[in-house]
C-alpha cells in the first residue's frame, strides 16, 4: 500500500501509486466489484518486457481506504507484452461464483477467468489456418451492448469480430490498406477503426460491403494510433496521430471535418479516454508527463480549447484508463508505476 510520493509538483493528497516490478503498458479496470469487499476494484496490469516472458497481474484497489492490494495468485504469463487488456463490461456473473472475464491481446485473443484466488485460462481465439502463421493483434474492444462480441484489430489490415461464447469468428473484414491500430465499438453492430493509412473508418456489420471514412489525417499516410468513441454520446470520437500533440475530436455526422483539435500538450499524446459519466469530458496523457482533462464547449473560442484541469506525473505517461465502474478515478501508467488519480 503506497501513497503517492513527490511525482506531482502540485497536489498529491488523493492519488495512489502502485510500483510494479516491471514496466507496465496494458491496463484494465474490472466492471464488477470483488465479492469479498464490494468496494474493491480489480485492476489488471500487463507488463512491457521486450522478451518472451511477460506477466499480467491483477491487483485490487479500495477507494475508501485509498489502498492497493496485490494478489500473488492472481497472475499469469503472457507471451510477449499484451497489447491490450480488458475486462468484460457490464458483467453479470453467476451469483454463486464471483468471477470476472478478462481478455488479452497479443499473438491471439485470449480469455481468462479471474476468480477469487486464481486465474484460469478459458480459451485462445485463433483464426489462422496453420499454427505457425498468426496475425498479431494490436488492439481489441469488447462490445458493451452485446457481451459476447469482441472486435480485434490486426497488423494484417483486417478486423475480426468474435463470438466468444461459441469461440468462433463472426466475420473478418479487410478494414484498411495498412495495419489497423485500434478499434472501438459504437453500438451492437457498428464499430470504427484507425490505421496506419491515416483514416478513421466506420463499419456496420449489417452492411459489410461498405465503410465510411470519417476522417483522414491531414498529412497523407500519417498513422492514427488510437481511437476512443464517446459511449455517452455516440456522435463524438477522439483520435490521436503519430508524433502529434493534438487530440482530434470528430463528429460522426460531419465526416472529414474535425469538430475540434485539442492542442495543449507540449509533446505527443499517448492515450485518450472519454469520461464515463459525462458526455463532454475527455482526458488525454502524453510524453510531456501531463494528464489533461478537457471539457468540450458548445462553441470554441478563437484560440482553441483550453483544458479544464491538469496533473503532472514523474515521467512520460503511456497509458490511461477512465473506468465506468469508478468514474471518480483515473488511472495512468508511466514507466513501472500505476497511479490512481481522483478526478
Amino acid at each position: 500500500m503506497e501513497n503517492s510520493t513527490q511525482e506531482s509538483h502540485l497536489r498529491s493528497d488523493n492519488s495512489i501509486t502502485y510500483e510494479s516490478p516491471y514496466p507496465i503498458y496494458a491496463m484494465a479496470f474490472s466492471s464488477t466489484p470483488s465479492v469479498a469487499n464490494l468496494n474493491h476494484q480489480r485492476i489488471a496490469l500487463g507488463s512491457f518486457i521486450e522478451d518472451y516472458g511477460n506477466r499480467v497481474d491483477v491487483i485490487s484497489f479500495d477507494p475508501e481506504t485509498l489502498s492497493i492490494k496485490t494478489h500473488p495468485t492472481l497472475s499469469f504469463d503472457h507471451p510477449y507484452p499484451p497489447t491490450k487488456l480488458m475486462f468484460q463490461p457490464n458483467r453479470k456473473s453467476p451469483s454463486s461464483s464471483f468471477s470476472d472475464l478478462l481478455a488479452s491481446s497479443g499473438d491471439y485473443l485470449r480469455l481468462w477467468e479471474v476468480r477469487e484466488s486464481s486465474i484460469e485460462p478459458l480459451s485462445v481465439l485463433n483464426n489462422s489456418k496453420t499454427s505457425e502463421f498468426c496475425s498479431p493483434l494490436t488492439s481489441f474492444d469488447w462490445n458493451d451492448v452485446e457481451p459476447n462480441r469482441i472486435g480485434t484489430s490486426s497488423i494484417d489490415t483486417t478486423c475480426t469480430i468474435w463470438d466468444i461464447e461459441k469461440g468462433v469468428v463472426e466475420t473478418q473484414l479487410i478494414a484498411h490498406d495498412k495495419e489497423v491500430y485500434d478499434i472501438a465499438w459504437g453500438e451492437a453492430r457498428v464499430f470504427a477503426s484507425v490505421s496506419a493509412d491515416g483514416s478513421v473508418r466506420i463499419f456496420d456489420l449489417r452492411d459489410k460491403e461498405h465503410s465510411t471514412i470519417i476522417y483522414e489525417s491531414p498529412q497523407p499516410d500519417t498513422p492514427l494510433l488510437r481511437l476512443a468513441w464517446n459511449k455517452q454520446d455516440l456522435r463524438y470520437m477522439a483520435t490521436i496521430l503519430m508524433d502529434s500533440n493534438k487530440v482530434v475530436i470528430l463528429d460522426i455526422r460531419s465526416p472529414s471535418i474535425p469538430v475540434a483539435e485539442l492542442e495543449r500538450h507540449r509533446a505527443s499524446v499517448n492515450a485518450i479516454a472519454w469520461a464515463p459519466q459525462s458526455c463532454r469530458h475527455i482526458c488525454s496523457v502524453g510524453d510531456d508527463t501531463q494528464a489533461l482533462i478537457w471539457e468540450l464547449p458548445t462553441v470554441a473560442g478563437p484560440n482553441g480549447i483550453d483544458p479544464l484541469s491538469m496533473y503532472s506525473a514523474g515521467s512520460e505517461i503511456n497509458q490511461l484508463q477512465w473506468s465506468a465502474a469508478q468514474p471518480d478515478w483515473i488511472s495512468i501508467a508511466f514507466s513501472s508505476k500505476m497511479q490512481l488519480l481522483k478526478v
Partner: protein, 641 residues
Amino acid sequence: MATGVQIQERVPENLKKQLALTVQDIQWSYAIFWTISARQPGVLQWGDGYYNGDIKTRKTVQTVELNADQLGLQRSEQLRELYESLSAGDSSPQARRPSVSLSPEDLTDTEWYYLVCMSFVFNIGQGLPGRTLSSGQPIWLCNAHYAESKVFSRSLLAKSASIQTVVGFPFSRGVIELGVTDLVLEDLSLIQRVKTSFLDTPQPFASNKSIPVDGITENDKDLTGPAFDPQILDTKVSPLLGCEQIEMASPNDSSDGFEPNQPAEGSFMVEGINGGASQIQSWQLMDEEFSNCVHHSLNSSDCISQTFVDHANVVPLCQGEKDNDNGLEDVQECHQTKLTSLDFQSDDLHYQMVLSALLKSSHQLILGLHFQNSNHESSFVSWKKNGFLKSQKARGKTPQKLLKKILFEVPLMHDKGLLESPEDNGVRDAAWRPEADEICRSHVLSERRRREKLNERFIILKALLPSNSKADKVSILDDTIEYLQDLAKRVEELESSRELTELEERMKRKPQDHVERTSDNYGNNKITNGKKSSINKRKACDIDEAELEIDYVASKDGLTDNLTVSMNKKDFLIEFRCPWREGILLEIMDALSTLNLDCHSVQSSTTEGILSLTIKSKYKGSTVASAGTIKQALQRVARKC
C-alpha cells in the same frame, strides 16, 4: 408595429386548423406554433403544427376516404405520433416502440425536419422563435439552410430538408413559425395576411386575460437607425477571428449586430459578409444529403464548433442581395471538391443508415454531471496556460516510444522465428496489400486469402530446398525444379543399386519398400509434420537413405529437421533430429527451459553426425506455449552453427 396580438393564453383548439388554412393559403411547407412552456417559464416549446410539404409515401391502408385537408391533418397527427413514440423509445430503450402508423423510413427530408422541430426548445431570446418573442418583431430568414447556427440553430436540418425560408412572428403569447422550401424574399405583407387571417376567422377563444405578450416589445433597439448596421458589419469584416462574430450573434445582445433594423418595417435581413471572415462552422457546408435520420440530436445547446482558419471562406449568412451569391457558391464549391475528393457521396446512403441506427439507439444527451474542479479532494488542478514551469521537452527521445513499440514492434515479435530475411517480409507484405477496388470487398477477401495461401506454400517450398539464394517466387520455383530433377536422378540411381543389394539382404531383414519410404519422405515433409516417427526406426545400414536424410537435414532451413511436438494437456513429447554440434544439447535444454518446459525424460543418440532426441517435458507455467512456438525455438537452436 403590431406586436403580438394577445388573444388567449393557451393553444386554441382549432389552432391547428388555422395553421393548416394559413399555410395552405400561402402554399408554404409547414407552420409551427411555439408556445411558452407550462412547466418551464421562459422557454418556448412545440405547441402545435401543421405539415404541408412533400410526402414520400401514402400509406395505402386507408379505410376511410379523406379529402386533401383531412389527409393533411392526419399526416400532421401521424408525424406527431411518431415523434412521441420515438421519444418514448429513447427514454426507455428496452421498451418496444408502440406501433405507429408511420415509420421513420416513410418520411421525406422535410417531414423529418418538421418532426425534429418537435424536439426543440428555445429560451426566450435564443433561436429564431426565441428572438422573435423577445423582440416582438417578425423575423424573416432567407437562405435558412445557409444560416449560421447561432442565427438559426436548425440550419443544418433545414439544409437537408431544403427549407430555404423561415419566418417567425409573435402571436398569442407564442411564436408562429412558417417555413417553405422555396426562397421567398421578404414580404411583410404576407405576414400581415397571415395574421389577419388568424384574427378574422371566428374562433371560440377564451379571452380570459389580456396580458401583454412580452415586456421586450419596444423598438428600442430599432431606433438605432439604418446607419447602425453597416457600421457594425464593416467593423466586423476586418477581424478574421470568429469569436467576434459569435459575440455579435450572442442572444444576450438580442442580435443587434444582425439586425439591420429599418424602423419602418421592423423585420430584419442580414447581409452576408464577403471574403475576410474565415470562420467555419464545423458542419456548415456538408453534403446535400445529410443524414435525415438524425433526430433529437441537434439541440441548440450542444453544437460544438471551433474556428478554423482555413482557406478563406465566406461566412454563409442569410442574405438577400445578389452580390453575395457568388461568395456562397465559391464556398460551396470549395467544400464540394473537398468532399468529393474523399469519395464520400457514393456511400452516403449507407452511411446515413449507419448513423440512423447509431443515433436512434443512443440515449438522450446527458449533460455533464457536475464536474467540479474546485473539489478539494481532486488530484487535478485547474489548468493554467503557463502552469507547467519546467520545460518538459522531449529530451531528445522518440515521441510516443512505448505506444509505437506496442503497435509496431510487439506484433512482429510473435513472428520472429518464421521469417528469416527481410525479403520474406517483403513477400508477405506485398501479398497482404489488398486491392484498391473498394466495391468488391468479398472478392478482395477471397483473393487475399488465396494469395496468402500461395505465399505460405512458397515459403514452405523455399524451406524444403537445400540451397536457397533468393526468396522471390521465380527463383524458388527454379530451384525447386532443379532440386526435383536432381532427386529424381538420385532415386533412379538408388533404385538400381538397391535391386542389387536386395538380393543379398533378403535373408537378413524383411523386405521393405524403400521406394515408397523415400517417397514418403517427400510427401511428409510439410510444415504440419506429424508422422515422422517411422524415420526414427530406420536401420543404420541404409546408408544411401541416410545420405538422403542428411541432405535434407543439412539444409539451412530448420523445417526439415524432423521435428515433432505432440501435446497432451501440459505434457509435451518432442522428437527432434538435427545435425550435431558441440554444446547443442545444452542449448536445446536452455531453449526449452525459457519456454517454461520442465524436461523430465531425455533420450538422445548421435548417429552419423545427426543427433536424435526424444524429450518428454511438462509445462510448469500456467500458460501453455503453442507447439509452433516450441518448434520455432528448437529450429532456431538447430540453425545456429
